[in-house]
């Protein structure tokens, strides 16, 4: 809890934040660190963990260059979470060496490509390339900003902050100014102005419609909002993002995030935004995830007595998604990969930083290009009600349903429904810009 509240302390101490990055661009150093990172990870996997796939060499390099891409059979968590995290390290090697978001993006692609061709004995995997590159950019930028927010060069107890930020942004730790170069100033990402943190701790009950079984597990949900689309006009990619992490019986059960890639440079009531999304859901009932780009309209409607209504309507293109199904998969893998598209709508109703009621509905389509010969139609929706019991404590009830219909070309269709109920105690902390009025809540998608 203490670690998670550090960003708010950091944000409150924003006087030392300069307008320009602390480090000027060092692209050669970023690329060198990317290569070193790949070599280090490969050698650690080979020598420390004894992984057979890590024993690559000139013969496998030649074979990989000659034969080219395939789809791999790795586990869902490896492909849709660990690879994006790995990609985030490449991306942050560039970001922490002073490169901008767009300048750092090619470094993520480079790191991913070189790893696929030279870091593994197996053939280069197209799904890994998508997840590591696009997922790495999304996770990397969010973790870069989170790390910068947690770290505070001018504050006491820097060690604790470094330890808290390290798992998110280790490359930021490697490249941060030290010794004679050390400074008390913070990078511009340190204090985004608006920050919101909401922790929901309680129980979660899921029902599987086919197996007629339900399960209840203790669950912690973390909703984090960095920046605010309405309070702060667009300045740079991911200067406003929202993230929801669900921790439960499988450790990290879900991580869903959406960051602003582009938006208006002026404050408006209705905003056309382009976001990059990262989705990873891996719980006992179902698994779905992927990398996507969405474009749509967000509106903010002031109501009497300080009440606020906020709506979002988006269309999205799924660059590469993964979804499990009974008939899905290939070889050892039991889920499909494919591109697709979809739409989502969300409505929030709240006041003074509290979201009293939220409704969301989302529909997606994934056309499998690896695994079953199938098309997957996904639906996700429900409502969340929160009742404040004090200034920062509340009681929350979430009721959501995940639906999946898999249309197979050579097998019967499959329809599954997973209703879910969550009952929580909620703790909320919100920080707004000093010059701004708290006009909108910031809840995760």
């Amino acid at each position: 809890m203490a670690v998670l509240t550090i960003p708010f302390i950091a944000a409150a101490q924003s006087d030392s934040t300069p307008a320009t990055p602390l480090v000027t661009g060092r692209p050669l150093r970023a690329v060198t660190q990317t290569v070193i990172l790949n070599v280090a990870v490969n050698r650690a996997d080979a020598w420390v963990f004894g992984q057979d796939w890590a024993y690559s060499g000139t013969r496998t390099w030649g074979r990989n260059l000659r034969v080219g891409w395939e789809w791999d059979e790795d586990q869902f968590g490896t492909n849709l979470m660990m690879h994006p995290y790995h990609g985030g390290l490449y991306f942050n090697a560039a970001r922490s060496n002073g490169l901008s978001f767009w300048e750092a993006a090619p470094v993520a692609f480079l790191g991913s490509w070189t790893w696929e061709y030279f870091g593994e004995k197996d053939r280069p995997s197209l799904n890994d390339f998508f997840m590591t590159s696009f997922g790495g950019i999304a996770l990397g930028e969010m973790f870069h900003r989170l790390g910068a927010t947690i770290r505070d060069n001018g504050a006491p107890h820097r060690t604790l902050r470094e330890i808290a930020a390290f798992p998110l942004d280790p490359m930021g730790w490697v490249n941060r100014p030290r010794g004679r170069n050390a400074t008390l100033a913070n990078p511009p990402e340190h204090a985004p102005g608006a920050l919101s943190l909401r922790l929901h701790g309680g129980a979660r009950f899921v029902v599987d419609s086919r197996l007629h079984m339900s399960s209840g597990t203790p669950t912690l949900i973390v909703d984090f909002g960095y920046g605010d689309q309405f309070l702060q006009p667009y300045r740079a990619p991911f200067d406003a993002f929202r993230l929801r992490a669900v921790l439960g019986d499988r450790g990290l059960n879900a991580l869903r995030a959406s960051g602003r890639l582009y938006g208006p440079r002026t404050r408006r009531q209705h905003l056309f935004l382009v976001n990059q999304r990262f989705d990873y859901v891996n719980n006992a009932a179902y698994r779905v995830g992927g990398q996507s780009i969405e474009g749509g309209l967000e509106s903010h409607w002031p109501l009497p007595s300080g009440w606020q209504l906020r709506t979002e309507a988006y269309l999205d293109a799924i660059l590469m998604g993964g979804v499990d199904a009974t008939t899905a998969g290939f070889g050892k893998r039991n889920y499909d990969f494919g591109p697709g598209g979809g739409a989502r709508f969300r409505m929030e109703f709240g006041r003074r930083g509290w979201t009293y009621f939220a409704f969301s509905a989302e529909g997606d389509y994934i056309h499998a290009v690896s695994g079953a010969t199938a098309d997957h139609f996904l639906g996700y929706g429900g409502f969340e009600v929160t009742l404040p019991l004090g200034t920062s404590i509340g009681l929350g009830i979430h009721n959501t349903t995940f639906l999946r219909r898999s249309v197979n070309s050579d097998r019967p269709d499959e329809i599954r429904r997973f209703p879910e109920l969550r009952i929580f105690l909620t703790w909320t902390q919100v920080t707004w810009p000093r010059s701004g009025v708290p006009q909108a809540t910031a809840t995760a998608p």
């Binding site: 074979r63 000659r66 080219g68 395939e70 789809w71 692609f109 591109p339 056309h367 290009v369």
Partner: protein, 219 residues
């Protein structure tokens, strides 16, 4: 879980012709690059459009097999877009590859392979005074294989739709205030899923197309 039947076999003459085409295209590209940038403003302004063609080489791989089918062919493209900044352009690209002599076993040239992709691309000019650029993009792709069954009969067509990636390096060579010749050394990757043919089934097909193109840009 079937895979590709085997390496393609093409006549020696066809291969020589293709290699000659590639050499000619590379020579033309080298010619474009040879006269160093003459301080001209290299890239495009406002709305730009580019079209061209060239030669390419496709490698078709599938899950569960280390065997690839490869063949030369011809490519064409149309690309247009706008400026995001002095160094970065955003556009969309329609790319096509056709090979009418694909085969799945030695000596077989009876199949036709086509891939089309529609991608959103970013062109990045690292140096303002040079026409050299890097290209990357992502989008949708479609692959079509037309196969004549063994022993004759009507050709059978199988199509797969999926995801497309494009990468490459290119160069703009100004030829007038509004026109430029553009050369590109690029790769297009199309992941188009399962393709079922009368003679074989290709699981999780991925077509990688490496190509050299020359185009005309209205900038």
């Amino acid at each position: 879980m079937a895979a590709l039947g085997g390496a393609a076999g093409h006549g020696h003459g066809a291969m020589t012709t293709t290699l000659r085409r590639i050499s000619t295209a590379l020579a033309l590209l080298a010619g474009l690059l040879a006269p160093h940038a003459q301080g001209q403003r290299p890239h495009r302004a406002g709305l730009w459009i580019e079209t061209g063609g060239g030669v390419g080489y496709v490698r078709i791989a599938s899950s569960g097999s280390t065997t690839v089918t490869s063949a030369p062919g011809s490519v064409s493209y149309l690309r247009f877009g706008v400026l995001l900044s002095d160094k970065v352009l955003l556009g969309v690209e329609n790319f096509g590859f056709v090979d009418d002599m694909l085969g799945f076993f030695r000596g077989d040239t009876s199949s036709v392979a086509e891939t089309w992709s529609f991608t959103v691309v970013v062109l990045w000019y690292p140096w303002r005074s040079s026409g050299l650029f890097a290209k990357a993009g992502v989008g949708a792709s479609q692959g079509t294989l037309t196969v004549t069954p063994p022993g004759g009969g009507s050709p059978v067509t199988a199509t797969g739709t999926g995801v497309g990636l494009t990468f490459g390096l290119g160069y703009d060579r100004k030829i007038s205030r509004k026109l430029a010749l553009t050369g590109c050394l690029c790769a297009d990757i199309a992941g188009i899923g399962d393709v079922v043919l009368p003679t074989t089934r290709i699981d999780d097909m991925i077509a990688s197309i490496y190509h050299v193109t020359i185009g005309l840009t209205i900038r």
